[in-house]
Amino acid sequence: MEGNEFLDKLASGKIRRRDFNKILAGAGLSLISIPLISRSGKAAVEDHPLIFTWAGYEEEGFIQNYIDQYGEAPNYTFFGDEEEAFAKLRAGFKPDITMPCSYKIPQWRDAGLLAPIDTSRLSNWPDCLEAVKNVPGIVVNGQRHWVCVDWAQTSITYRTDLVEIEEESWGLLWDERYAGRLAMIDSLIDGVMVAAIYGGAKDPYDMTAEEVQRTKELLQEQLPLLRFYSNDMTTVQQALASGEIVAGVTWNDSALWLQEDGVPVKFMNPKEGAMTWTCGISLQADADPAKIDRAYDLIDAMLSPEAGVYEIMEWGYGHANKKAFEMVDEADLRKRGLPKNPEDIDRFLASGSFQAAIQNEPELQMMFEEVKAGL
């Protein structure tokens, strides 16, 4: 039946029920078969591993070698924070690769989400920094479930023109002169741990009951001084740029980007010690066996010095590969607060407080939620 003929018949009401149903069935069948047809044409996309990662890590600079090798990028899907990712994975989501940070590894391993990684299959592994190879809590029973890709610091970015301080300290976030113009990151690791370090906890990641109490009091004391808690770094950067807040907890990239925009800010090196975080990459226990080879190539691409240069220059983060540091000008490194020589880097990493898995995490999180709710 011709299309126009059909329409004419339909309009005049002369179409038979059977004919109409045939056409409906045909339309339905073709609709259903569209995805099947296009799938066979694009088989290659199916062969790439699926990466579950932080939004932002899909930039091609991170995996240029992989793209050069296979001609296209792997498949991405994103999380906002690791708790959200964890909940999704526990509910049965099965990507091939995830990108958690080091302090989450024990929990994820306990939940049976991660598969061991064979570092002998990574050509860039020998070039990685000693300090990041030895991040505590990663290797258990000789099995490594995670490799570090990048590292940087959590510290205060403050407006040099609006803040007067004698020495750099986390105490700026408790300074009543700046009440209502301070901001914190809304997370256990980058928020509560700041209070723990400022409160002088011996090991912020494994606190005693008194230290927890002290941390809680500090958070309660700080709450009325804060403009907001935020996980959204764009909000923090905009607030710093406009002068709505004068100091906020950030990572290196925010300070770098604000400086490049001409905002007078400095990334603090607090006397109590900044926090160093390392984030990396893990193979999932349920990864598709057919994609494992490509998954290793992808991890290797992320560890390559080229990816390292991109990350140092564009994000201001340190990279796992020491060769990357040799390929970047010393002036550029200094601008980002990063050292040049490998021994210095190892010493630098060893000096900060490496973010470790938090003991009593659920209780601390509830405490934090209660403080935020006004307890």
């Binding site: 909940a87 804060l226 403009r227 709505e244 999180q365 709710a373 006004g374 307890l375």
Partner: protein, 365 residues
């Protein structure tokens, strides 16, 4: 249907009918079964989409979270934690003394039993209340947060209904042509996503947002107003805007239905415009107002996106903490208990609200 009623009475005891035929005969004869069968698609959907999740939530709320798993033994611990923020055992330690004190009236021999029970109630309720309040002062963060959420939602409901009423009134009484276009115009802001509407308010109320920079360029203020964003005020304003359509439409419908001759009659009998509105229009539009209040109040109590984005440190609501219980804090049982208690509290409030409006209506009539 032909097969439903046999045209000829079947000869009893001679022909054995097939099982399916007999089954069909039985099911078709029973009115309730036929009714439920007719309802079954809807009923199935209701059970899957509503009853099952709530059932799961209630089940969770009686369990205990142990690291990544649940302890599935039955306990009221999460409920006690919600109200007192103390652990189970400690609660009963103090509870023991309280119940002893409560029992005192029972041992006063001079009164008859009825009076003794009465005294127990008179002493008992305030004692329990004071006990809970005593704990509340420092510890009962969750009931306080729930109360705060209810207050914020109450303010939102009031603001929404008060702002929506004139709009609905205008369309119902003063728009003569193209009413549909006016109604569609009202829904235009709702064609964008909820999140976008919240962000729009962030831009309007922000530190260097539309409002502040406007006032500054007019020279009316020196420093931007800080209270506009990241406050309870911002939460109320944003929610009131976001839910406006849900208030305007029901109020419009009930205003539209009012018989215009009643208004003429009121005028003929000497009522001025204000008295006429208060004595005729408003009471007759009450069903719409009530529906609007419920439609706005119920969903906003549990909202967590808006407080998260514009609430700052003071605008946190119960939804935020429940969300983190199911996410970051990974304590599903406590989250379940908090949700169940919130649901019960909201239901109780709504019942009280409906009862009150009913009484008021009777007084007006």
């Amino acid at each position: 249907m032909a097969e439903r009623v046999a045209p000829v009475p079947a000869p009893v005891g001679k022909v054995r009918l097939g099982l399916t035929t007999r089954l069909r005969a039985v099911t078709l004869r029973s009115e309730p079964i036929r009714g439920y069968a007719l309802l079954s698609p809807t009923l199935g959907l209701m059970i899957l989409a509503l009853a099952l999740p709530i059932g799961l939530l209630i089940t969770f709320s009686f369990w205990t979270q142990v690291y990544l798993d649940f302890d599935r033994s039955f306990t009221f611990g999460r409920y006690i934690k919600f109200f007192t923020n103390t652990e189970y055992s400690k609660f009963f330690e103090s509870w023991y003394w309280i119940s002893l004190a409560l029992a005192i009236p029972l041992f006063v021999p001079a009164f008859p039993w009825k009076r003794r029970l009465g005294a127990l109630l008179i002493v008992g309720y305030p004692a329990i209340a004071f006990y809970l309040i005593g704990l509340s002062v420092e510890k009962a963060i969750y009931p306080m947060l729930l109360w705060k959420s209810i207050k914020i939602s109450g303010a939102v409901t009031l603001a929404t209904v008060v702002l929506a009423y004139p709009m609905a009134y205008f369309i119902a009484f003063h728009v003569k042509k193209n009413k549909l276009i006016w109604l569609i115009l009202i829904t235009v802001p709702f064609w964008t996503s909820y999140l976008l509407r919240v962000f729009a308010w962030k831009i309007i109320l922000g530190y260097n947002g539309v409002f502040n920079s406007g006032l500054m360029s007019l020279g009316l203020i020196e420093e931007p107003f800080m209270f506009l964003l990241y406050s309870q005020f911002a939460v109320v304003l944003t929610l009131a805007h976001a839910w406006a359509a849900f208030a305007i439409l029901p109020i419009y419908v009930s205003l539209e239905k009012i018989d215009r001759s009643l208004l003429e009659a009121a005028t003929d009998l000497g009522d001025g415009p204000v008295a006429r509105f208060l004595r005729v229009t408003l009471p007759l539009s009450m069903p719409g107002v009530i529906a609007a209040s419920l439609l706005v109040f119920i969903p906003t109590v549990g909202d967590y996106v808006t407080p998260n984005l514009v609430g700052g440190t003071t605008g946190i609501m119960i939804g935020n903490i429940i969300q983190s219980m199911f996410g970051k804090a990974n304590n599903w049982p406590l989250g379940g208990a908090s949700s169940v208690i919130s649901m019960i509290a909201i239901t109780a409030l709504i019942c009280a609200f409906l009862w009150l409006t009913k009484r008021m209506k009777r007084q007006i009539a």
